[in-house]
């Protein structure tokens, strides 16, 4: 056992244990460190945003004379009018700017990379053959599952026709595929959370207490 003598590491360890104490019961020490965490998070994010404003707006405006940058600076400041009731409506302008920009930037790519590329990828041969012409059974079965499965999921979310007959059967196939998909997702959630827990165990029992 090789306990750290670094006061920073002690602060880290005590803080982490205090936060973990929540899983036993909510308590004042947990609340204190929870607030410290929120303060740290907001403070850190503020510093990074400040750096961006300086580098992307203020410095080019003041040293290179890029006057067009006054527009985003004014729009950015307009966001803060929301704190003054009589002129709070002004903050809608920059919000609308960001909304329009977000839509304009992402929509084309959304259709291309998500709708078209994924639809194309779903159009695969039902029967896969090797270069010698022999049927590759495993891959063919996989392809059939993937084609029918994608159609099934789409049918499940397609409400323009009544779900009965073949439509209902396809929709229920889609439902089954989604259940397995969610199961896979849950399995990954468990794995991911354990990874994160291991990181903090390493910090507490390794970096701080020197047991690991």
């Amino acid at each position: 056992m090789n306990v750290s003598t670094n006061p920073w590491i002690w602060f880290m360890g005590i803080g982490m244990l205090s936060l973990y104490s929540f899983i036993y019961k909510e308590n004042p020490i947990y609340r204190l460190f929870e607030h410290i965490y929120v303060g740290a998070s907001v403070g850190y994010t503020f510093v990074t945003a400040y750096g961006n404003i300086i580098d992307q707006a203020w410095t080019p405006l003041t040293t290179e004379g890029k006057l067009n940058l006054l527009v985003p600076i004014i729009l950015g400041l307009m966001l803060y009018t929301r704190y003054f009731k009589p002129i709070a409506w002004i903050s809608r302008w920059p919000m609308s700017f960001l909304m329009g920009l977000g839509i304009g930037v992402s929509t084309y790519g959304l259709l291309e990379s998500q709708l078209i590329a994924q639809s194309k990828a779903a159009m695969m041969p039902l029967f896969v053959k090797s270069s010698e012409g022999a049927l590759l059974l495993g891959r063919s079965i996989n392809n059939i599952i993937m084609i029918l499965g994608v159609l099934g999921v789409l049918f499940y979310f397609f409400f323009s026709v009544e779900h009965k007959g073949p439509v209902r059967r396809m929709a229920s196939l889609g439902r089954m595929v989604m259940m397995i998909t969610f199961g896979v997702a849950f399995g990954n959630v468990v794995m991911g959370r354990i990874s994160l827990l291991l990181g903090t165990i390493s910090d507490i029992f390794g970096t701080w207490l020197g047991i690991i």
Binding site: G39, Y80, L101, T181
Partner: protein, 212 residues
């Protein structure tokens, strides 16, 4: 002014950005670059809103001596320490002590506390797995079985027990999960496109908030 102008801003900005993907024109290209660069700056300003909000809420709590006000003091103090040290070290990159202090604040306060808040969920996942994850129906059984097989497929120790666990786990991930996720991705793309159009054309006005 209060609703018409924001709707016009969304439409014009979104339309200009979208058009540039279909019409290759140098002027439009320049407009797109300019608008996008402005967006980066306005977003940086928007980050400050969180700090102002937090400051308003917690300074009111301190002023009124509401319960837990001492935690609010800790929050604001931490936030200001981060902001002051961060901004100082940014403007004085040669001051190694300030840079080291900021680095320590990041490494021993913000980073481990943030990791702990997320890692804590692992305990809840474990508890939920035991108490709530039940084979109550056929679909729940599908979900649960898929989750179990994926977890076993990713645990090297399970592979020592039966070497087919990773094969099954990978098949579920690569075939069935890919099918389900693809169907969902295509659906989301169609939904996202429809929502974008609704916002762009002013049918959807949620981003303007309520009131006048």
């Amino acid at each position: 002014m209060k609703r018409g102008v924001p709707l016009l801003i969304v439409f014009v900005v979104g339309f200009v950005m979208l058009t540039t993907y279909f019409i290759k024109n140098p002027t439009l290209g320049q407009a797109r670059t300019l608008l996008n660069n402005w967006g980066v700056i306005v977003t940086a300003f928007s980050v400050g809103l969180a700090s102002v909000n937090i400051l308003r809420i917690h300074s009111a709590r301190i002023a009124n001596r509401r319960s837990g006000w001492i935690n609010s003091v800790a929050l604001i103090l931490t936030m200001f320490i981060f902001i002051v040290v961060g901004i100082y070290s940014r403007h004085n990159p040669d001051n190694k002590a300030a840079a080291q202090l900021f680095s320590n604040l990041f490494d021993y306060a913000y980073s481990p506390f943030s990791a702990t808040m997320y890692a804590m969920i692992a305990f809840y996942v474990a508890s939920a797995s035991y108490r709530a994850f039940r084979m109550r129906s056929f679909e729940a059984t599908l979900l649960l079985t898929a989750a179990l097989l994926v977890m076993l497929g990713n645990a090297p120790i399970a592979e020592q027990i039966w070497d087919k666990f990773p094969v099954i786990g990978n098949w579920l991930l690569n075939v069935v999960n890919t099918t389900g996720q693809r169907g969902i991705a295509i659906g989301v793309a169609i939904g996202g496109f429809a929502t974008s159009l609704r916002i762009l054309l002013g049918f959807d006005r949620g981003h303007l908030g309520y009131g006048e």
